[in-house]
């Protein structure tokens, strides 16, 4: 399971990928910021299309792991999070640091582009907004940089470079 309502336990994620052959372990943590576009954020609420999150995260992790002797663990929280809480954690282990960093970066970047998770920001001034949607959800997939043809192209290029 890649989604969790419970706090992310980094130790468990590291233990899941650590092995005697994989000496390099790279971690990325995304935590809740206290500001967005100059406004004070007090907390967030993440929601998700859970079955697709599981499917798409599985595909992303498989892509990363297919590029060498790399093992990846990944967790994203949903529900209510406070400033400083870990929202997402990626751990990539490999024989050497280059592969570990590359895999870790691939997973977090593709997660942001492809995985259906949304967040609602609660501001100090009492307002609440869906991130990325503007006031009325007007953003196009194209303007958000997530047009599906781009996704396919990136996937193809990613495989071609390996």
């Amino acid at each position: 399971m890649y989604l969790s309502e419970q706090p992310v336990d980094l130790t468990t994620l590291i233990a899941a990928v650590q092995s005697p052959e994989r000496g390099g372990i790279a971690c990325f943590l995304g935590t809740v910021r206290n500001h967005h576009r100059g406004r004070d954020v007090v907390r967030l609420e993440y929601s998700a299309y859970a079955p697709m999150v599981e499917a798409e995260c599985g595909r992303i992790v498989a892509e990363a792991e297919s590029r060498g002797n790399v093992a990846v663990s990944l967790r994203h929280r949903i529900g209510r999070l406070e400033v400083g809480d870990v929202a997402v954690a990626v751990v990539a282990a490999s024989a050497h640091r280059d592969e570990a960093f590359t895999a870790c970066r691939h997973v977090i970047e593709e997660l942001k582009r492809r995985v259906p998770i949304w967040k609602r920001e609660y501001f100090a001034d009492g307002t609440v907004e869906w991130v990325g949607s503007g006031a009325a959800g007007q953003a196009d997939s194209g303007t958000a940089g997530q047009r599906v043809s781009d996704l396919h192209l990136t996937g193809a290029l990613g495989r071609a470079t390996r």
Partner: protein, 88 residues
């Protein structure tokens, strides 16, 4: 029925986050004449109250995979209309 003319399929449409807010719905079942594409389903959703606030080209997923608007629909498909993603 062994009709030769038009046939219809039923597609489940899922709405999330801001799109669920503007339409006041989490999901709906659309019965639509074939052949039908994701774009046809989007046009039907746009005709619902609040549907005019959907963007021109929303991100869509069919049966848990990203697809474009030209993708053909089949009976029983699950079509998700996805607001701008904000994970991480």
């Amino acid at each position: 029925m062994t009709g030769t003319a038009v046939s219809a399929i039923t597609v489940r449409v899922l709405l999330f986050a801001s799109y669920s807010d503007v339409l006041g719905l989490d999901s709906l079942d659309l019965t639509i004449e074939t052949p039908a594409t994701v774009a046809d389903a989007l046009n039907r959703v746009r005709s619902l109250p609040g549907g005019e606030r959907l963007p021109a080209k929303p991100l869509c997923a069919l049966n848990l995979r990203h697809v474009d608007a030209a993708t053909r629909l089949s009976d029983g498909d699950e079509l998700a209309i996805l607001p701008p993603l904000a994970g991480g």
